[in-house]
């Protein structure tokens, strides 16, 4: 707490140098009363603060900031008079906001914020952070909030922030924003600059803002304005189209990576043994539950490293599910290699068993996962295109899985054996390969891959006993479409199916997209049952 305060003080001094006189000090008691007041007052207070923000002393801003933060974080308690700042929500006592005295919070009420108040408070907090943030990162975060509600923030706030800013990059950003805010300024030169500034950071919102100016009288009368606006609008529109295109590619890629993760293990199992493993979805579910187990172990044993549990879960999920797969193979499937249709029913029974085992022992509710920063949130990359970390995680995960599996198949003795058995079981057996053992290991590998898919899905989907059932039809179609026994075929098929789904969805809706893609695959397979990449073999 001390360090930021000192920085605040330093900043205040700096501010004092640039802006010598304050218009009026903040009425702290009234402000506190507003924040503890009814909905209207809770909006009035923060809005007033933002309006006066350009002129308030740093001290006042810091005071307001403390109160606003406390209110947003449910640490503001409202007794009959004044306001209390609590250290944590529902604490029994707190410091009086004005006097600093410790008072009990028992009889006080904790206000609940509606969306309107929330928006006003968010803007006010952003303003305070922008003006008094101790480091560029805090000020940049404040700026991001202010930018989202630029219409409600007076120019004075931005001017003051710009003048006080020491970080060159941030200063330029604030300048740009201040310029952009002047879209409806009476000064034609500033307007032109504003158009350029808005066009410099393209987005759907920017496009809408510029498009609205087409109705402005100046558009008809002022050729320079018209030219600037048209140029700016064209630039933004182009960027938005590109951004949307990128989003489509990204969405397709992320869907494809999920499909691929779900189908990769199947491709190996089906390609090698001709076994339709209907429990593959449940193996994915088990992988996700193994991940949960790892998380809980971290929580107990190494809470400090909790953020890394997803990585620790990779070998655990792989190993655990591979083991389950090997057990299933050893107990059940090994007796059924000559009867693939019966192995299909057997794996269905296994899937039924696993779902209900998990349901009875752990329960039906969604599991609670801690989401480390690298799998939550996202970053706007270009125009409206946001890269969400959880999807990127899945894409990277799928790519790594692909690489690793190819490595195993192409570069290890097991991989060689697997490929030999896949291509000609009888010949491999004649050559003395232990085909039964290879089957078992390959089944373990395929199951382990499903376990990995479970890890990758944790940040994306809800994890519950039934989560696996949704994958089975899709992933089989991907495997068969790609061509049995061809991992690259599976990849291409996953990309194709994912891309087609994402492309069709905006046109005809999600249901129709799925139907169209599946019907397409069915028709294709009936013309070419061996799929895209399977090698024609002698019967």
């Amino acid at each position: 707490m001390v360090e930021p305060l000192r920085a605040l003080l330093a900043l205040c001094c700096l501010a004092l140098l640039t802006i010598p006189a304050w218009a009026a000090p903040l009425d702290r008691a009234a402000f506190a009363a507003d924040l503890c007041g009814d909905g209207t007052a809770q909006v009035r207070g923060p809005e007033g603060l933002v309006q006066a923000g350009g002129d308030l002393s740093a001290d006042d801003l810091a005071f307001a900031g403390r109160l606003l933060n406390a209110l947003a974080e449910r640490r503001l308690s409202c007794p009959a008079d004044g306001a209390l700042l609590l250290d944590r929500p529902d604490a029994p006592e707190g410091h009086d906001a004005l006097t600093g005295a410790v008072r009990p919070a028992a009889e006080a009420r904790a206000p609940i914020l509606s969306l309107r108040q929330r928006a006003a408070i968010e803007t006010a907090r952003g303003t305070v952070a922008l003006l008094t943030g101790p480091d560029p990162a805090a000020r940049a975060a404040g700026l991001a909030v202010v930018e989202r509600r630029i219409a409600t923030v007076p120019a004075a706030v931005l001017d003051r922030a710009r003048d006080a800013e020491t970080d060159a990059g941030l200063k330029a950003t604030i300048t740009g924003l201040a310029q952009a805010a002047a879209l409806s300024s009476p000064d034609p030169a500033r307007r032109l600059a504003a158009i350029a500034a808005v066009a410099a950071s393209p987005s759907g919102t920017a496009q809408a803002r510029l498009a609205a100016l087409k109705n402005d009288p100046a558009y008809a009368s002022d050729p320079a304005f018209q030219a600037a606006l048209d140029a700016g609008l064209a630039k933004v529109s182009r960027a938005v189209v590109i951004g949307d295109g990128l989003a489509v590619v990204y969405n397709g890629l992320s869907f494809a990576s999920i499909l691929f993760m779900a189908a990769a293990g199947l491709a190996i199992i089906f390609g090698l043994m001709g076994v339709i493993n209907l429990a593959q979805g449940e193996f994915i579910m088990l992988g996700a539950y193994a991940t949960y187990g790892v998380q809980e172990a971290f929580r107990r044993l190494a809470p400090g490293l909790l953020d890394l549990y997803l990585f620790a879960a990779i070998p655990v999920a792989f190993g655990a599910v591979a083991l389950v797969g090997i057990v299933v193979e050893a107990l059940i499937l090994r007796h059924l290699y000559r009867r693939p249709l019966m192995s299909l029913l057997a794996t269905w029974a296994v899937s039924l068993f696993l779902v209900n085992l998990v349901r009875v022992t752990i329960g039906t509710q969604n599991l609670q996962f801690a989401m480390p920063a690298y799998v939550s949130g996202g970053v706007p990359l270009y125009a409206d295109f946001v890269v969400t970390w959880n999807r990127l995680f899945a894409i990277a995960f799928a790519a790594a899985t692909l690489g690793l599996t190819l490595l195993i198949l192409r570069r290890t003795p097991l991989g060689l054996d697997i490929r030999a058995v896949t291509q000609n079981r009888d010949m491999a057996a004649c050559l003395g390969l232990p085909t039964r053992r290879i089957d078992r290991l390959a089944f373990g590998l395929g199951s382990g891959l499903a376990g990995l898919a479970g890890v990758a899905l944790c940040p994306i989907y809800s994890v519950n006993p039934g989560m696996g059932s949704g994958f089975i039809v899709d992933s089989f179609m991907v495997v068969v479409l790609g061509g049995v026994g061809s991992l690259l075929g599976t990849l291409v098929a996953a990309l194709g199916v994912g891309g087609a789904n994402v492309l069709i969805e905006p046109v005809s809706g999600a249901v129709a997209a799925k139907v169209i893609v599946l019907v397409g695959i069915i028709l294709f397979l009936q013309r070419r049952p061996e799929g895209l990449f399977a090698v024609r073999r002698r019967r």
Partner: protein, 366 residues
């Protein structure tokens, strides 16, 4: 229908003797007739009558699958589709009939904002037309899908996967509200059957008796079929399709004919099922349900029509009972039963009583 099947139906007397020599099927047919007579003479509580009728419908469905799986080696994981076609057309008939008599439009039609039943419902209030339409539609869908698959020699597990995808697509389509057949809620609230109020004891008993008699008829006639020359070709096709083709038989036609026949029997089961449960919705198209049909057949005993009947009645009877008596245990019992049958009793529960009319060499497709 292929010429082959027609020959079978007009087959010589030999197969008939065989059917009589099949004590399992003969016994089951007798049991069905006796049960039907019993229901007419001394009906038990209506809900029991109703449950019995449902079981009979499921048994017909199982027989339809056994016909293609047990005797042709084609495992369809999409038979729920044909069942649903029968069910949906039957539901449409019941609603159209109800609307024609009472003048009140069905719920979902009002919901869709339609002022009357859509044009393609025309005539559905006439039962014979609806009946023929249901069978024809199931046969047509089966024909198109089968023709495409069998001509490209899609078989074995590939056929299973693709047929599963087919039923899945149908499910997605039917869940769509805009498809216009009630979406997720499906169709329900059938007021009348042939002018009688649905749910009255007479109608309940009548439906159950109809289902039992149909089961007996289907069982007897399919037994005749599989005992005929056609049936021998089916077994030959199951065990070595290439061999059969190189002996001059068009297996595509044979498979297509039996496949369509099986689809129509499944549709018949759907027709009998829907008025008894009073609802049809896209859930019957869930891939899981179609797999379950295969489970009934496998548990009872593959390639013996009686086995399918026993399996369907046993599994569903147990399900009715256990899912209420021991809801936690039922899924475990079912999966255990499947594994037991698959691993220990490859010819189904009939192995337990050592009943083997003829060896079934459960050879996989090549």
């Amino acid at each position: 229908m292929s010429g082959a099947v027609q020959t079978a139906l007009a087959g010589p007397a030999g197969p008939a003797r065989r059917a009589v020599r099949d004590p399992l099927v003969a016994g089951l047919v007798g049991l069905c007739l006796a049960a039907a007579a019993g229901l007419l003479v001394a009906p038990p509580a209506p809900y029991l009558v109703n449950a019995l009728g449902q079981l009979a419908a499921f048994a017909i469905l199982a027989v339809s699958l056994d016909l293609v799986w047990g005797y042709l080696g084609i495992l369809s994981l999409g038979h729920g589709l044909f069942f649903a076609i029968g069910g949906y057309v039957c539901a449409m008939h019941l609603l159209a009939h109800g609307a024609a008599v009472t003048g009140v439009l069905p719920d979902f039609v009002q919901f869709m904002g339609w002022k009357s039943l859509p044009a393609y419902w025309a005539g559905l209030d006439h039962a014979p037309y609806a009946f023929v339409l249901a069978l024809a539609l199931a046969g047509l869908v089966a024909f198109v899908f089968g023709l495409a698959s069998f001509r490209s020699r899609v078989n074995g597990v590939y056929f299973s996967i693709i047929s599963q995808a087919l039923v899945y697509v149908a499910m997605l389509l039917m869940y769509r509200n805009d498809t216009g057949l009630g979406g997720n809620n499906g169709m329900t609230g059938f007021p009348l059957l042939f002018g009688w109020p649905m749910g009255s004891p007479g109608v309940v008993t009548g439906l159950a008796v109809a289902a039992l008699l149909t089961l007996a008829a289907i069982l007897a006639s399919t037994r005749l079929l599989v005992g005929s020359a056609i049936g021998r070709r089916m077994l030959a096709c199951r065990d070595d399709e290439t061999r059969l083709r190189t002996l001059g038989y068009s297996t595509t036609r044979l498979k297509l004919g039996i496949w369509c026949l099986s689809a129509m029997i499944a549709a018949l089961a759907g027709i009998l099922y829907v008025p008894q449960v009073g609802i049809i919705n896209p859930r019957v198209l869930a891939p899981d349900l179609s797999i379950e049909i295969a489970v009934w057949v496998a548990i009872g005993g593959l390639g013996r029509l009686g086995g399918a009947v026993i399996g369907a009645i046993l599994v569903n009877g147990l399900k009715f009972w256990l899912s209420a008596a021991m809801p936690e245990a039922w899924p475990f019992i079912l999966s255990g039963l499947v594994l037991l049958v698959v691993l220990v009793l490859p010819n189904g529960l009939l192995d337990l009583v050592g009943w083997r009319p003829r060896p079934t060499w459960l050879r996989s497709s090549r």
